[in-house]
């Protein structure tokens, strides 16, 4: 199995620390940084997609019914979606 980058010795660092592992950022689950998670109240959601547009992580996805959810592997809980939501249907719930 390939070594995790944090296990590389100094002799194993790629030349110039160039990253050739395409889309390798997907392996970095930034969701672990989160202290609050966004919750959508679908009774108020108008499916406008503002949360989707503003999410700095681009981790908000639309489901088959047209409602939005955050991919919690990457959502850092920044709250930008809740701030921008037109109807105020997104609230932030502290992680336990």
């Amino acid at each position: 199995m390939e070594k995790h980058p944090f296990e590389l010795t100094w002799k194993e660092i790629p030349l110039g620390f160039v990253q050739t592992d395409y889309m390798s950022c997907l392996k970095n689950h930034t969701g672990s940084w989160r202290s609050e998670r966004p919750i959508w109240d679908e009774s108020h959601c108008i499916k406008c997609g503002v949360c989707y547009i503003f999410c700095p992580e681009a981790c908000i996805e639309q489901d088959e019914k047209g409602y939005f959810h955050a991919n919690l592997d990457y959502c850092k809980g920044c709250g930008v979606c809740a701030q921008e939501c037109w109807t105020g249907c997104i609230s932030l719930k502290p992680e336990e």
């Binding site: 660092i13 160039v18 050739t20």
Partner: protein, 391 residues
């Protein structure tokens, strides 16, 4: 024998770079380096050199653009001096860390203030720790010969680091000298086409300049340090190959009449030649004096320097820039730290010379040598000597 022609060192250096078949140049003019990039722009404008010539708005941009062009696999050259080098400072570390084999000629000049366009080594000594390979040329011929050397070392697969060619501003850069040009075929024999080991290529995506979090930054720096230390072997090989090409022998540490010397001077740059004349004059009087100087400055050729000293009991070390507030100035600091624990403990007398273009003459070197011979006899310690300062 190859043709010699009377030509300004800067022009010869630029011709040498062009004959290395450089593919990209980014530059911002600054005295006393200006003639180099000016002349290269003529090569490109006249259609004699197929290269991208990028005039930019500052040295910070010049080195940044050079990084970009090197990152896509072009053999890249730039040149600067003094304030220009200082303005490049933050990108110089990146260039080395990204392992981009850019070659830069630095016409050494004092840093402001007060504003000075004249020669000393304060610009390059402030960039001592940037992680580039750094070498010194002492005259125009050496400038011409060492440009292809720089590319050969920088682009070597075992090195893949940027390299600086230092030479004294005005004293060398603007001097018209008889210089022996290589034929184009000699350049082509000596310097193979650049085969980049890393390259930005949309068909094979990669990212340069990633974040180094605490879990990995240390390992990256350790690798960078080691590869710079190991580059000394490659410099030595490239110098040997250079001798085969042009017949001139250069070494990482060079000695002049030092074999049986009682005292030697250690210094860098064009003043070595003034010092050589002083050595010849004193030798003619039967005094055993000589010179040992590192030509390669980074990586510092520690073992070769210690070996070259033999059992010489007294050294003079000439600095050409200040370490303000420090116990010793840069070259003396290096030499003392190299010798501490080496098993050799010669007396070391420190000199400050040639600051901000202040002239230093053969007689002054002779006086310094006489002082060193006195120290050898009486064994006394001297404080740092600030030669020629009005006090």
């Amino acid at each position: 024998m190859a043709k010699r022609k009377g030509i300004e060192s800067s022009i010869a250096l630029a011709d040498s770079a062009a004959m290395c078949r450089i593919e990209a140049i980014s530059a911002y003019p600054i005295t006393p380096q200006t003639h180099i990039v000016e002349h290269l722009s003529e090569w490109v404008n006249d259609g004699e050199l197929e290269a991208e010539f990028l005039p930019v708005e500052s040295e910070h941009s010049a080195i940044s653009a050079a990084c970009g062009m090197s990152a896509v696999g072009a053999r890249t050259f730039t040149a600067t001096s003094s304030q220009g080098l200082a303005l490049m400072h933050e990108i110089l570390f990146l260039t080395a860390s990204l392992r981009l084999p850019i070659v830069m000629a630095v016409a050494n000049r004092a840093l402001a203030g007060p504003i000075s366009i004249w020669n000393d080594h304060s610009d390059i000594m402030a960039e001592r720790d940037i992680g580039w390979v750094q070498i010194f040329a002492e005259n125009g011929q050496e400038c011409f010969d060492l440009v292809p050397l720089c590319f050969k070392v920088a682009e070597d697969k075992r090195v893949h680091l940027p390299m600086i060619l230092n030479f004294d501003g005005f004293i060398v850069s603007h001097m018209i000298e008889p210089i022996e040009y290589w034929e184009q075929a000699q350049f082509d024999n000596y310097l193979p086409a650049y085969d980049p080991q890393i390259k930005l290529d949309i068909r094979n995506p990669s990212m340069m300049g990633a974040v180094g979090v605490p879990e990995i930054y240390y390992e990256v720096k350790m690798g960078q340090h080691q590869v710079l230390l190991d580059s000394k072997v490659v410099v030595k090989e490239a110098l040997e190959a250079l001798e085969k090409q042009c017949g001139r022998r250069y070494e990482v540490v060079e000695s002049y009449r030092a074999d049986d010397a009682d005292v030697v001077m250690v210094l860098l740059g064009s003043l070595v030649e003034t010092c050589m004349t002083a050595v010849d004059n004193l030798r003619a009087k039967g005094l055993k004096v000589g010179i040992v100087r590192p030509r390669l400055w980074r990586p510092f050729p520690t073992e070769e320097f210690i070996e070259s000293l033999g059992d010489i009991p007294v050294l003079g070390v000439c600095d050409r820039s200040y370490t303000f507030g420090g116990a010793h100035h840069p070259l003396a600091s290096e030499i003392k730290s190299v010798l501490y624990g080496s098993g050799k403990a010669p007396k070391i007398c420190e000199y400050m010379i040639g600051i901000g273009g202040r002239d230093i003459r053969v007689e002054e070197f002779e006086q310094m040598f006489m002082q060193l011979l006195e120290v050898k006899e009486n064994g006394k310690d001297l404080p740092i000597q600030y030669v020629g300062v009005r006090s």
